[in-house]
């Protein structure tokens, strides 16, 4: 990762046991914590899912594959437990893309020494990854047979607002705690 110069950089799409295990841990955390959400007052169905912050965090810290895996499998588990089955499979892919895009953004950013700046960059990078990754829900045009205006006004923008709040607040907080731990243990 860009912030840890002591760790040798792995190939972008490497699939080691570390990737598999951390991806699985992240997906399980997202699956469990993702069951808890709360409505934004004054909206019809915009719910903030705090666990979504885990997706860009895992993307940043553990790479493209782990980030994609956490979003994809974690969201699919939430849907399976809730009873949606695979109806909204494209939203699971969109969640996965958020993790993958976050990994790519932070992979190519230079190391940042100042902690305050790093936290701000983490929040902005996670928000950008969310905005890009969730664009995949435009596939609702075909999957749910709805028009483009509806996709953006009822699906994309409310999701971006809700998930954006979660990633801006919680992703930097998670990263701030994990940074010294990862340096101390050489992870």
């Amino acid at each position: 990762m860009s912030t840890d110069a002591t760790t040798p950089r792995e190939p972008v799409l490497s699939l080691s046991s570390r990737t598999v295990v951390f991806g699985a841990v992240g997906a399980a955390l997202y699956g469990v914590l993702g069951l808890f959400s709360f409505l934004i007052p004054g909206t019809q169905a915009v719910t903030v899912r705090p666990a979504f912050a885990l997706v860009p965090f895992f993307g940043k810290r553990f790479g493209v594959v782990a980030g994609f895996f956490v979003g994809l499998v974690g969201n699919a588990i939430i849907d399976l437990i809730s009873g949606y089955g695979l109806t909204y499979w494209n939203w699971s892919v969109a969640n996965g893309l958020v993790g993958a895009v976050a990994a790519l953004i932070f992979l190519y950013l230079p190391p940042i020494a100042s902690e305050a700046v790093r936290l701000v960059v983490t929040a902005l990078g996670a928000l950008l990854a969310t905005a890009i990754g969730l664009l995949f829900v435009v596939t609702d045009l075909w999957v749910q047979s709805i028009d483009l205006k509806t996709v953006f006004t009822l699906n994309y923008l409310p999701a971006l607002l809700a998930d954006g709040i979660a990633v801006v607040i919680l992703t930097p907080a998670l990263d701030a705690i994990w940074e010294p731990l990862s340096k101390r243990t050489g992870r």
């Binding site: 598999v20 955390l29 607040i169």
Partner: protein, 273 residues
């Protein structure tokens, strides 16, 4: 809420099938019903989905909460999107207005109601073919099924591992909440989403960090056992039998017929009785 994977349909017709069948059927069904506006066509597909769901043998008491949750959320979405706000509807300018929705003043016609019913029935039928994925595949078979469908074996094992981590993660969540309560943690009662998120940090952060620290032991254990080598003890053989092939052929035929009907424009119009 119980997040532990539940194998509720043990011994049923679908549970005796190759697990890949249960993963492929929802995909084929989704292809069949996507983009259909005609309620009669969706009802026809739903009849097939119902037979499939019955074959899963999932006890009602085991999934009652899931159905209630799914039906409540889906009905709200359909009523809001297709009836109250007309954000997701099909408009027929010549149709007779039955009544006007309160507050939003949307004109409700038979076309509006028929299309809303089509959407609702489609979601319910998708849940019918989706439930067996959650409750009729033995948790230990899920990773194998994905691997035998062509997914990377390491990623397939990751899926397997995720389901194994769910119960321990759920238990850790409770431990973390209890430990933080002793230190004075309380759920936020604020309606402000930012305050609510900030209040969740004492739970989300220690839970995540503890899970990551424990994960390092799992990585070491897997490396010591040669994970990723050629000999994979967890990858058992799977084989489609004649019934599996018949089920898949039936759903593939249904998908082909519905896609053809869609292309010919036979199911693209809202049916008005």
């Amino acid at each position: 809420m119980d997040v532990t994977p539940r194998y509720l349909g043990a011994g049923s017709f679908l549970s005796r099938r190759d697990p890949r069948v249960l993963l492929l059927v929802p995909v084929l069904y989704l292809v069949a019903v996507a983009g259909i506006d005609d309620l009669r066509a969706v009802l026809l597909c739903t009849a097939v989905a119902l037979v499939y769901y019955r074959a899963a043998g999932i006890p009602w008491r085991g999934v009652r909460a899931n159905w209630v949750f799914m039906l409540t959320i889906t009905t709200i979405l359909v009523v809001v999107n297709s009836i109250l706000t007309s954000a997701e509807t099909r408009v027929d300018g010549n149709a007779e207005v039955l009544f006007t929705a309160p507050i939003t003043h949307t004109a409700i016609t038979w076309t509006t109601l028929s299309y809303a019913s089509t959407i609702l029935v489609r979601y319910i039928s998708l849940a019918m073919v989706g439930f067996p994925v959650a409750f009729n595949i033995a948790p230990s078979d899920l990773g194998v099924a994905f691997a035998r469908l062509g997914l990377s074996q390491r990623l397939a094992y990751g899926v397997d591992l995720t389901f194994r981590f769910l119960p321990s993660t759920w238990a850790s969540l409770h431990e973390t909440v209890d430990a933080q309560r002793i230190r004075g943690y309380e759920h936020s009662r604020s309606r402000n989403p930012v305050k609510k998120l900030l209040a969740l940090r004492p739970v989300v952060i220690p839970l995540t960090v503890n899970a990551l620290m424990d994960a390092e032991d799992t990585v070491n254990a897997m490396d010591l056992r040669g994970f990723g080598g050629r000999h994979r003890t967890w990858m058992r053989e799977l084989a489609f039998d004649r019934i599996d092939r018949l089920i898949l052929a039936g759903f593939a035929a249904m998908a082909a017929v519905m896609v053809t009907a869609k292309i010919l424009g036979l199911t693209g119009t809202v049916w008005v009785p």
